[in-house]
């Protein structure tokens, strides 16, 4: 497939990128790894007049823990995140998800910022960012703003990013003692988009009760979403398979899947419930190990 024509710019720094986005408001798309955008352009699902290559923009790929969050630069590739010692040692949920996105070649080049900004309704990162209550940082010429992941994914392939903004950073809240997370993905074959993906985060108090839980699903609605019903069922409860099953049933009921080649509606709801149960089990094991 030969892509349609577009102009190409490779600005030297972020200020230059922001100036172009302002001057050509609504006409430009940002290019990073390209593993989401290029297939879209080839399929004519996106036909930008101008591609702005972020390759020369430095300082957007760092991974570091601050006092209150793990900061991940938008240009960090899935592989770099997966291999970062801080992620491997302290954020098993992020370590899980970065092993399951696409395939090795995609993970070598695909970036967290590109994946999040693309907002595929079956992509993996959004569920993780929603479950962890992450925030997404965007810059424009007028300054920086943060958007809660829960408010970010507006609709299928639509986010809260303005055309004049660049997604620069993801901030995942620092993992406290007694907290654990896990990501469970059902896929038809390795490397596929999720039929259903569930990210779960469980935080336990010293008595072993769940203080708060985050449960988010991908692949089973027009956009990844938090199962607020499942989260409400879990809050204040002692962890058990019984309560996890109730939360899973709630997550399945809150799903709005479309029947397609990956399965009919009923099947996807059942899998949403089952994967929620499994993700909660594993998140709880990790929370207990981190007490």
């Amino acid at each position: 497939m030969i892509p349609g024509q577009f102009e190409y710019a490779r600005p030297a720094n972020l200020d230059e990128v922001l100036r172009i986005l302002k001057d050509r408001e609504g006409e430009a798309k940002l290019l990073s790894g390209g593993y989401s955008l290029i297939p879209f352009i080839k399929l004519r699902l996106a036909q930008p007049a101008l591609l702005v290559d972020l390759r020369d923009v430095t300082g957007l790929a760092d991974i570091a823990e601050t006092d209150d969050h793990l900061s991940i630069g938008a240009k960090a590739t899935h592989r770099r995140i997966h291999e970062a010692p801080i992620v491997r040692d302290r954020y098993p949920l992020l370590h899980d998800v970065t092993a399951l996105i696409g395939d090795p070649q995609v993970r070598n080049w695909g970036t967290i910022g590109g994946s999040v900004a693309h907002a595929d309704p079956a992509s993996d990162w959004p569920a993780v960012l929603i479950a962890t209550n992450a925030t997404i940082v965007c810059r424009s010429q007028t300054g920086e703003r943060t958007i809660a992941a829960r408010d970010f994914f507006v609709d299928t392939f639509q986010t809260a990013i303005e055309p004049t903004e660049v997604l620069t950073e993801i901030r995942v809240p620092r993992r406290p003692r007694g907290a654990g997370g896990a990501y469970e993905k059902l896929e038809r074959k390795v490397g596929d988009f999720a039929t259903v993906g569930v990210a779960a985060v469980v935080r336990l108090d010293p008595d072993g009760r769940i203080t708060t839980a985050g449960v988010a699903l991908t692949g089973v609605a027009e956009t990844p979403f938090a199962s607020t019903d499942a989260e409400a069922i879990l809050a204040g409860q002692a962890p058990s398979d019984e309560i996890f099953r109730q939360a899973g049933a709630a997550a399945g009921a809150q799903s709005r899947p479309a029947g397609d080649v990956r399965g009919p509606v009923e099947y996807k709801r059942a899998m949403a419930a089952e994967l929620t149960l499994r993700a909660l089990r594993r998140a709880t094991e990790r929370a207990l190990a981190n007490a």
Binding site: M1, E7, Y8, P39, I41, P104, N108
Partner: protein, 172 residues
């Protein structure tokens, strides 16, 4: 139509070209440089037949614009053999019959080479995960995995010989 001037090093040789921004890297390699060993399979970044190395990292060249490769080092299947001497992976695919129709083979070998550079002694499971972005519709993968295992052993043995050969010199 505007074009971009790019310089790419392919298998050690520098090339300059004026390309449309929409030109895919795989088409630069095949159509402009005549390196037809890199295959176009699915054209949707699923099958991995177009896998090459860019600055040492494996990539699917159907999902990258040629302009993105400007200033970078590219290695394709044509850059693997040393004259008439096959690369250990090429020899191992031959020895183990790690192919039937051969269409996926260049991409499979390039991905395996990246895998072994990253992890010289992979388990069978690590090999299977490592080539999970490369599809073969003929072999069922069994002989491909055997070939990569053979190459890993051959490459480790060759490295040992080099080290052993170098030792007296270093000692002397």
């Amino acid at each position: 139509m505007t074009t971009q001037h790019i310089t790419v090093t392919v298998n050690g040789e520098a090339h300059e070209a004026d390309v449309e921004a929409r030109l895919l890297l795989v088409h630069l390699l095949r159509d402009d440089l005549g390196l037809t060993g890199t295959h176009v399979g699915c054209d949707t970044s699923n099958c991995g037949a177009c896998t090459v190395h860019i600055d040492g990292e494996s990539a699917k060249s159907c999902t990258m614009f040629a302009v993105q490769a400007d200033g970078r080092e590219i290695k394709t299947i044509e850059g693997m053999a040393d004259g008439a001497i096959l690369h250990p992976l090429q020899q191992a695919f031959w020895d183990q019959h790690g192919l039937q129709c051969g269409f996926c083979t260049p991409g499979m070998i390039m991905q395996a080479a990246w895998l072994l550079a990253d992890n010289p002694d992979p388990s069978e499971e690590e090999i299977r995960w490592g080539i999970s972005g490369n599809l073969c519709r003929c072999t069922g993968y069994v002989n491909i995995v055997k070939a990569i295992q053979q190459a890993a052993g051959d490459m480790a043995a060759a490295a040992d010989v080099q080290t052993a050969g170098a030792a007296p010199v270093a000692a002397g």
